[in-house]
Structures are given as C-alpha cells and as structure tokens.
Symmetry: C2
C-alpha cells in the first residue's frame, strides 16, 4: 500500500494543499519550517506522488511519446538517442514505441499514447495514419521526423534527400559509372523514399544518362527476393544491359544488397559498385567498407525533441508549422571503386 499525500500531510501536521504546493514548487508563501518538515516526512516515508492522479487532475503528464518505424534499424535507435538526451535534459519522460512499419500497430500506439495523455508526440510515420495524426495534433503537439506529410500541417524535421542523392550519383559518375541502378523499398506513403527515387531520376538526367525502368528495383526487402532481382540484373555477367553500380535507398536495403551480392559471389566493387543512403556504425567494417550518404540522425532526434519542447513551453505559438531540413554528407569509402578512379 503506497503512501499517499494524505498520509504525508497527517505526519507533517499540515493539509494536503500545503503538501501539494510543496510538491509543485510553490514555496513563495510557505514557512521555511513547514518546508523543512515536509521535506523530512517525504524522505522518511519515501513518498512518491501518484502520477496518474496528478495527470488526471492537471491534464498534463510531462511525458512525450515517440514512435519509430523499425527499432531493428540503427537509423531508428540513433534518432531515439537524440530524442532521449534532449528530453531528459528538459525533464520530460519518454515512452518509446516501435510501429514495426505496420500502419495498424502505429495506429494502436498513437491511440495508446493519446490515452496515456502524453504532452507531445514524435513520430517517424508509416504515412498511413495521417488523418489520425492530424487530429492528435489539434490537442497535442506532434513533430514528424524523417518522413514528411505534406497534406497535414505539422512541425517536421527531415533530411535533404534530393541533395544526398545528387551527391551519391555525382560520386558514382565521377568514379566512372554510367549504368547506375537503384534499389528501394516501396515508397507509396513514405516521402523520403519517393524523393530519393525522383532525385535519382533527376540526377541521371543531369548527367544525360537514361533512366531505365528495369533498373529501378522496388522490393519488400526480403533477402531472397532481393537476391532474385539482383540475379536477374547482374547475375549474367557484365554487358550493356547490366548496371555497374547500385544505389541503395536506405541502410536496410544496403545490407540486403550487400548480403545478396556476397552470396552470389559478385565482387564489390570490381563487378558491381554499391552506394547506400544512410550510414551506420559498422558500415566501414564490411568488406569493402561501404560508401554512403550519411544523415545526422542523432542531431535530427535532438532537433525534433527541441521543437516539441518549444511548442509545449509556448502553448499558444502560431500554428505555422516549422520544417527543418538537415544536410546529408557523402562518406567516401571503398565500395564504388574509389581506389581506381581517384
């Protein structure tokens, strides 16, 4: 039976109101002796306020919810760390959820978080629950991270995919490639994926290289599927219908592609070069170390949390949503044949 505010009040010989004031830092008109006595009783009893009761009354919980798309992706965990550190510093609690790239799970988590009366939400959304998210944003500040939702007006932190892709393709071209394929996950509702595909096409055009439908591979990411599609593309030996380089739209894809290529015993970069969007800790331990376009993921998590806190501190901020775009950076390693050409 946990100790309640009433018990503390009784022992300190004051009323519940006074204890409550003490708990909420309203020391202004409070006797120094009273404060001391209360502090002592609280310590003695190891009293902890019931946050449910408090939340019920105050309608604020000092808790932020965060939903990531896929917790197995290092991209998500780095973002989480960025969010976590910032919130911790600001004194907010964090409830973490993993939507597992499943719109239904995402919906359930959003509802759960709203039910738990979170004060704010940071979400790397599947893009399939925009009406729900827009509705939440009416009562509770929401910040989108990584993925935009143009049709709803919400604070967003994202990365400049177009610029990143341009750097990637430029690099591949500079290293001698002319036949560049791209592998991506389905990009129906997910803005960066779509942007990257469009930027890929634009970058090819910029170099007067033709865009070939059959070199744009959409895959669910399943490894055998990726292997099969790559087999069809590059398995038959080099010729003018096979690409010499593969641009991977995110790190999960990059890993699948590298894995498939290794299994097929297609040498990287000798036979086919690989360049990935998004860096991760051990990309450089792979053989060959993978050249990537790195996103400042930790900083993005930071920023998202700060934007949320700003809204919370100024509840009547202009509703004009802020869109913050981070710049990605090309990290040249060895998977594009760099050593030969540069």
């Amino acid at each position: 039976m946990p100790v309640t505010i009433a018990e503390v009040a009784r022992r300190a010989g004051v009323s519940k109101s006074t204890i409550s004031r003490y708990l909420n830092g309203m020391y202004e008109h409070m006797g120094a002796d009273t404060q001391e006595r209360i502090a002592q009783v609280i310590a003695e009893l190891d009293y902890r306020p019931n946050t449910l009761a408090r939340g019920l009354k105050q309608k604020r919980t000092h808790t932020i919810g965060a939903i990531v798309a896929n917790i197995l992706n290092p991209f998500s965990t780095s973002i989480i760390r960025g969010i976590e550190d910032t919130l911790q510093e600001a004194g907010f609690n964090l409830i973490l959820c993993n939507a597992d790239d499943d719109p239904a799970k995402e919906r359930d988590y959003v509802n759960m978080l709203v039910d738990k009366q979170i004060d704010g939400l940071i979400i790397n959304t599947t893009g399939c629950n925009n009406p729900l998210i827009a509705q939440v944003n009416q009562q509770t500040p929401v910040v989108l991270i990584d993925r935009k939702a143009p049709e709803i007006n919400i604070d967003t932190v994202t990365v400049d995919s177009a610029c990143g892709v341009r750097q990637a393709i430029d690099h591949m071209v500079s290293v001698g490639h002319r036949r560049i394929a791209m592998v991506t996950l389905p990009y129906d509702h997910i803005s960066p994926r779509l942007e990257r595909v469009q930027a890929y096409q634009a970058a090819l055009a910029g170099h007067r290289l033709p865009f070939r439908e059959e070199w744009l591979i959409r895959t669910g990411g399943d490894e055998t599927e990726v292997a099969a599609k790559l087999q069809a593309l590059v398995g038959a030996g080099s010729h003018e219908n096979s690409p010499t380089a593969i641009f991977c739209a995110n790190n999960l894809i990059t890993m699948s592609v590298v894995r498939a290529l290794k299994k097929m015993r297609v040498a990287i970069p000798d036979k086919v070069s690989v360049l990935g969007f998004d860096d991760w800790d051990w990309a450089e331990l792979i053989e060959p170390p993978i050249t990537v376009v790195a996103q400042p993921v930790y900083a993005m998590g930071n920023k998202a949390a700060m934007m949320l806190i700003k809204r919370l501190k100024a509840p009547r901020m202009p509703k004009k949503p802020a869109i913050v775009m981070f710049q990605p950076e090309l990290l040249k390693r060895k998977s594009c044949g760099e050593q030969e050409a540069e």
Copy 2:
C-alpha cells in the same frame, strides 16, 4: 475537450455504471438493445476511456515497462522485439526505456515506470539498483533478462554463458590456437560478464592452457582504448607472449576489436583470430565473417514476457522465482582460421 463517460451515458440514456460495465466486457446481464445503443454512441462520439482515471481507480494499467541496457546494441533491440510481440498478443501495452548502461538513468526509469503504475517490469539491469528492484518486485512482478541478480529472488531469463564460452574456447583450440586472449567490458555488477570470464579461465584450464592475467583485457569499450590495448598485445608481431586468438565477451566488444584490428592492419584470422559472444544481423557481412556464439535473443524476450504475464494472470503464485536458461550456439564462420584447420 475530450468526451467522457458521463457524456456517453447521457446520450445513451443510461448510467455511467452501465457504460463502464460495457467497456469492461461485463455484458452478462445487459440488454442486447442497451449494448447496441452504447456501441453506437461510442462510435459516434469516438469515445476513448481515460486510462489515467481508470488506472487510478483500478490500480492496474495493463502496461508493462521494459528497460534495456543499451538501445544501440542489436542485442537489446532483438530482445525488445521478442518482448513486444508477446505482450501485444496478450493485449498489454509496452513502455520502452533505455538506461544507456547508466545506473542513475536506470533508477530514474524504474521510478518513472512505478509511478506510472506499470503492472510489470522487464529489465536488463546494470546491477547497481538491486535494492530498488527488489523493492519494486514486492508490489509488481519483475523479470530480469540476460543479467541475473543472485542476491534477490526474481524471475530471470538468461543464457548459459559457461556453456557458450566452453564451445568458443573448444572451437579455437580445435582450430589450433593455444594462446587465447579475452576482451571484456568491466564486469563488476554484471553477471554474464563475470560468468564469461570465469568460464574462459575454466575452459583454458580444461585444455591445460595457462591463464595469463595480461591476456584478460578489461576495457570501457572506447575504441581508442581498445586499440591501444590491442596494440600492446598483438602489435609487435607474433611471438610467444602474443595471443593468436581473441575471444570477445559481447558484440559491442567484438565490433571494437575488429575495428581496431583493421585500423592496425592486423589480418584476421591470419595474424589474429577473433571469436565473439553474441551474434547480430550483419556479423557475416564483415570481412572475414565473424565466428560467434549466438544467443536466442528474440526467444529470450518472448520468454521474459510470458513469464511476466503468467505472474500477472496468477497474482498469488508461489514467490519461488523461476530461472530460465537458454542455450547458446556456436556459429562457425571465417574469423578463426576455420578454412585451414577443418
């Protein structure tokens, strides 16, 4: 202004109790028409019960807390997935926390979760908050995962480190190694780390190999520190005071060691072999693919969640704690010179 149970009651022309009964599935003595009317009003108003109010009254929240040691470690995220799937199926919510291997953060998270009235806790503990955790376990079922706390009586799911280490050392010996070093993070309060060190010593003894203090490297995991220590150990070329193989106590260490060795241009396994405890997704993409002792992490997460649910379903279970031990499995790849010797 969210809609409350009172509003639903008013519109449905019944009392709050009836709505409450409906919400809690007590349809037994309820008119079919009443049910229908309630269902309709709820749908119309998009009513969602206030979980804070409910939790305050019921003293249960249908929510489980989980604290992992380090969310950047694939070990943690796989466990999370195991926990998540099982809880989801059982209809429990999950609040995820990342202690970041910091006892103070861990303490804060435990307190936060208790304050939020979680029904149960799964924790991969730093080992520095045992009194607190034992205290929590009095009122709220706790399951320890991966790391044991022998001095407190709590359900635990862990892995048979001794057996795993034995397999690892046996394998290294069978492949021709006689001079085997070990690298570990500090193991003061963390049971598997200590067990692995002890098992390493025992396994050496089993093969009549001497244990050398200077070949047991304790490190904070910082990369430059690891590099410096490895440099001292194997940097000077092969001789009888330098080990021919390194056993890494977990995957973070494995990555640090591989990274350091690569930077030092020490060939694996030609110059030094590497074997790691704990597998992860892309261990086989590294060059050379790393031989590891794999833990059934997802299953461990599953099991921990199931044990917790069992306690919750049978609140008056014997307090006798269950210790479940999973068996690890050696995955032979290429980092121990396997191709030459087998």
